[in-house]
């Protein structure tokens, strides 16, 4: 092999090596794109729901109500018969089986929606009005194009008769897509078309607030102690080793801790944001302390010495001068720690937040779910409609995380002083 050939080989090896590096970065970036694209394409349809325009007749004979009935009477009244009559009239059905199939095109909440329209206007007795009734999950998915129509009938959840009704509705412009208010305001449900993340969002907000209230002050005080006051001795070293190790303990171990200490020993209520918040606070604490200490360390000693020189005590120099200067870094570290806590799932599963909760929690000691746990729960459900709901929930969760991270970066860039 001549000198030139060898040189050429070495240079092509150089190029290859460089290409591997570029390719790896590209692979990582590509995956971020694929993931986001996949979630968004699946999830964006969940923000709309399919509704069927139906003529509802508030038949006096089927209702025990008069015009101008009080709210309480309406809530207690039975609108089931009215619903059945109106739904059956929407399409000619031959026998009772076909009628049942027709009724199953509407969501289980159709009766409630009819009642709600009456609550808004209690002079409807004997009148006919057109209402947008929520369609069932199957029709919803069919209309959004997520459900294959070309399967043989026995492998479909929708019968040929139901398909015929659907096509007729589409032809007559009776089917349309509305903004899915249920998704944002309702709690969990077994029916995908009625399931919402209202409860999960409230649960997540309670948990994160409790986590913030507990973890932030303790983390700041602990880092001030370790960075400014702690003598160099065995105890301080031990605390430092402890904090570093705690930051690397798998999150599920914190779940076991919470199960044993918070639930079994102290007997706090299961499945509640209170317990979730405490667990997340314990988990987040070391993850906040580490950036906190870094930003305290970045404040140059001249600041402390200047304060001490004009007669401030050690405490005054730290609390009046060092801590305010370290605040931007501290806050952005805290926000990033909270963002991690917001996406945490495993410990919350162990403390029972996987319970099926329909009601939206009104206080931190009500059973509740949280956004990531809701993702887990729905992803285990078989119904097709939950796939888009899960993806949409992930979109919301990622949006929250992104906002928190941007806030952290903004705080740091805007307020942090550079010392050099």
């Amino acid at each position: 092999m001549t000198k030139e050939e060898r040189l050429k080989k070495r240079h092509s090896a150089e190029k290859r090596f460089r290409f591997y590096g570029l390719a790896s970065i590209f692979v990582a970036l590509l995956f971020v794109l694929i993931l986001v694209q996949n979630i968004f394409s699946k999830g964006s349809s969940a923000f709309k729901k399919t509704v069927i325009k139906t003529e509802v007749f508030y038949n006096q004979e089927l209702l025990e109500l008069k015009n101008g009935a009080s709210e309480k009477d309406i809530i207690n009244a039975d609108f089931y018969e009215v619903m059945i009559e109106s739904l059956i009239k929407s399409f000619p059905a031959k026998n009772i089986d076909e009628e049942n199939e027709l009724i199953r095109l509407f969501s289980a909440d159709a009766e409630y929606e009819i009642k709600k329209a009456f609550l808004n206007n209690n002079n409807l007795i004997g009148e006919k009005i057109i209402l947008d009734l929520t369609a069932s999950d199957d029709i919803d998915q069919l209309h959004k194009g997520n459900y294959p129509r070309d399967l043989p009938e026995d492998r479909r959840r929708i019968s040929n008769f139901q398909l015929a009704i659907y096509d007729n509705f589409v032809e007559n412009d009776k089917i349309s897509k509305n903004f899915n208010n249920y998704y944002f305001t309702k709690g969990d449900s077994r029916d995908p078309e009625l399931a919402g993340i209202g409860g999960a969002i409230v649960g997540s907000i309670y948990s994160i607030l409790i986590c913030l209230l507990l973890a932030f002050p303790v983390a700041v005080l602990a880092s001030i102690y370790l960075e400014e006051f702690a003598p160099k001795n065995k105890i301080t070293d031990f605390i430092e080793i402890n904090i570093n190790n705690l930051a690397a303990v798998p999150s599920i171990v914190y779940g076991l801790l919470a199960l044993q200490i918070l639930l079994a020993t102290i007997q706090l209520p299961r499945s509640t944001p209170l317990v979730a918040g405490i667990t997340l606070a314990l988990m987040t604490l070391p993850r906040i302390i580490i950036p906190c200490r870094a930003s305290l360390k970045a404040v140059p000693p001249s600041i402390r010495e200047g304060a001490l020189a004009v007669g401030a005590s050690k405490f005054q120099s730290v609390f009046h001068h060092v801590v305010p200067l370290a605040m931007p870094g501290t806050l952005s570290g805290t926000i990033i720690g909270l963002a991690q806590a917001l996406g945490e799932t495993a410990p919350l599963i162990l403390i029972g937040m996987v319970a099926f909760v329909v009601d939206i929690p009104s206080s931190p000691i009500d059973p509740s779910s949280s956004l990531p746990v809701q993702v887990y729960l729905w992803s285990e459900s078989a119904e097709r409609g939950f796939v888009e709901k899960t993806s949409a929930t992930i979109m919301i969760l990622l949006t929250f995380l992104m906002m928190m991270n941007f806030l952290a970066v903004y705080l740091r860039q805007k307020f942090e002083k550079r010392w050099n």
């Binding site: 990582a28 970036l29 993931l35 303790v218 302390i289």
Partner: protein, 467 residues
Amino acid sequence: MNLVLIFLIIIFSSSLFFYGRSKTKSLAISGNIKLNALPKFYGYYLVLWCSIPALVFLLIWSLFEPVIIKSIIIDTAAKQGAIFNDKNEANLVYEKIKAIHLGTYLGELDSILKESALAYAKFINIFTNSKVVLIFGIIIASTLYSLKKIKNNNKARDDVEVILKGLLFVSSLIAILTTLGIILSLLFESIKFFSVINIFDYLFGTNWSPQRAFVRDASSITPAEYQELKDAFGFVPLIAGTGFIAFLAMLVAVPVGLFSGIYMAEYASLRVRRFSKPVIEILAGIPTVVYGFFAALTVGPFFRQVGENFGLTVSSESALAAGLIMGIMIIPYVSSLSDDVINSVPQSLRDGSYAVGATKSETIKKVVIPAALPGIIGSILLAVSRAIGETMIVVMAAGLAANLTINPLESTTTITTQIVMILVGDQEFDSPKTQSAFALGLTLFIATLILNFIAQRAVKKYREKYD
């Protein structure tokens, strides 16, 4: 009640602040004394003395009150003829008594329950009253003491700072308390588990199926029953599955992470670096449940489809899908750390290599990487510990049945998956099944601790070498 007390303490102590400040001010003016600190420090001094002892007492009291009342009530119920076979029954009766007291009990009432509920009401009353009296006593005593102190014009600022420093120290102790809490809570249940199952049978058993384990009475187990239990709690398939999935993950994460780290540290222009580093770190910020969802609903079925086209049977919950996605999640842990580590290799080493004619890639391969090796190994070990502690991806994508396999197309299970499976839903404590989750947790905790310890030592040693 507690909230009212805390509120009262806060109101009272903050009013003391203004009292202390104005009192010392007027004292200084009228008595013409030179104060030893600014007047506000006397105020702070009063506040701290008035609130901290009372709050600490309240906290300790609230921790112990339920336990003490419970044991008293169970005792009185036993005296009245209630018979408890074990702790669970006693707990049940106690819960019933509490429900009667709160008026939410719907079951049948008998005389024992009725009497006990009355006794419960009585004790609650006594305890609450004595709590209030004691707290007011403490507030008065500590306030009087501190008032006397400030009358003598003490060095209030120094005293306040000593107390605050104590508070700071206590906050930093929370980290130690957490570690202690983790170790104790894991050990407590694990010891119970290992008293039933021999630790060696657990560590070397090759069968894991805890749902088969039914134990009526843990104190008397026949040899045949033990054999069955032994077959239900064998750790080997779990560690094999965990290790296997972590290995698959590292197959993805190490090359991709390492090469991107090298590229960013050695080749990339500042602009590329500024853009690509944060974008890669997005991968670390995405919640793991999102990866799990992606692995279970997109990647798993995709692999099965591809496998079918090649005539292979791929389980839809394959180790491959879980391992691949976990590897992608871990890329930023490897790339960021190795980027840092490579950046801290001194420039003089590279210059020396260039001076004898090596190309850039030869310099990296033969000089920079060997120099940075301890740090790189440290970062890989940290990534491994991340992989074995990761829960949601494997819970959603890796399968539940424990089978010993090295075929990446089959489903395997991991330690974390089993912990979740055992503890999800209602658990009965005091059964070996529940306790086994804590034994698994302890094993996981120890394994990650050792990995982290070695990794941190390696990185630290390496840093010291070039500092």
